[in-house]
Amino acid sequence: MTALWITIVAVALASAALRAVGPILLGGRELPSSANAVIALLVPAVLTALVVTQTFSEDGWLVLDDKAIGVAVAAVVLALRAPVLLAVALAVVTTALARAFG
């Protein structure tokens, strides 16, 4: 029980610290313009990594499962310039169906 509490408090403190370090150290300083170019690209880089890892990674293993089918459907729907919510909804329906009948 105590080990569990130590773990969750440590993880909470670490998460808070990781979120706070940048804002504290940088204060309100403007970043140099070269940094702005990097940060503008950080957004697509992080999003790409989140899409890839949340689709193809399960407990550190590379997997190709029902989730990938759903994300692929979303990609096709988005490529057809359909509304964003429709793409997400179809991804959910596809994944649920694949899990039900897969």
Binding site: A3, L4, W5, T7, I8, A10, V11, A14, S15, L18, R19, A20, V21, G22, P23, L25, L26, G27, G28, R29, E30, S33, S34, A35, N36, A37, V38, I39, A40, L41, L42, V43, P44, A45, V46, L47, T48, A49, L50, V51, V52, T53, Q54, F56, S57, D59, G60, W61, L62, D66, V71, A74, L78, V84, A87, A91, V92, T95, A98, R99
Partner: protein, 227 residues
């Protein structure tokens, strides 16, 4: 999303509204976490407290996975820290747009969560502070509320994964990414490289590392700028 114009006090509301579809999925995942924690014998208090003080789905599921698999305290903490290491560069990116002294900034930095941060990004590496905070609030409420529901209903709901709702997160990030890709040339290069790098690292590196490695790809922004 790149749309301009939703600034000032209206930004909070705009952020909250924009994130609602994802926040509903966050609520369902909260239920899932509550059920999981309760099933691991954590009781009702620990999962709820964990969601309140950590507010990080990926890290909390990682802790449950490590401890549930018989792992120790240190591996559980390390797994969670690696997964959340992305908050460091994300915090640096948003830092110039937060307000107040050190403590206030540290507090506002707690609003950094993946979806809010990405949706609050604007052209030229700028961020909409109000939009980010506004988008985080519904996610916090639904994550914690979901956890409470999860520990209360326990085994009743069964496996929420069957509903396919976990796919909402990658699908939603994909929609944000498509908006980014309209930025053109260098963005496309970064996305391709980041995707290849993350895929290549998943089988070899612990979870979290592929994301950090992909962040480093953004350093390409230092090239090809004649400044």
């Amino acid at each position: 999303m790149k749309s301009e114009g939703e600034r000032g006090s209206g930004g909070y509301l705009a952020g909250a509204r924009a994130v609602l579809p994802l926040a509903l999925a966050t609520g369902v995942m909260g239920i899932s976490f509550g059920v999981l924690g309760y099933s691991l014998g954590w009781g009702m208090i620990v999962p709820i407290v964990f969601s309140v003080i950590a507010f990080s789905g990926s890290a909390q599921f990682a802790v449950a996975s490590v401890l549930g698999g018989g792992g120790g305290v240190v591996p559980a903490i390390v797994a969670a820290v690696l997964l959340n290491a992305r908050f460091l560069p994300m915090g640096v990116a948003v830092a110039p747009f937060l307000k107040g002294g050190a403590w206030r900034r540290a507090l506002e930095g707690q609003a950094i969560v993946d979806a809010s941060w990405a949706m609050a990004s604007r052209d030229g590496g700028r961020f909409d502070r109000e939009f980010m905070i506004g988008a985080t609030i519904p996610q916090v409420i639904l994550w914690i509320g979901g956890t409470v529901v999860g520990v209360l209903v326990g085994g009743v709901v069964g496996d929420v994964e069957r509903l396919g709702l976990d796919v909402i997160f990658p699908a939603f990030y994909l929609t944000l990414l498509v908006e980014e890709l309209r930025g053109g040339g260098q963005t496309i290069a970064v996305v391709v490289l980041a995707a290849v790098l993350a895929l290549a690292l998943i089988p070899f590196a612990p979870p979290g590392i592929p994301v950090i490695a992909s962040c480093a790809v953004a350093l390409l922004g230092l090239r090809g700028r004649s400044s």
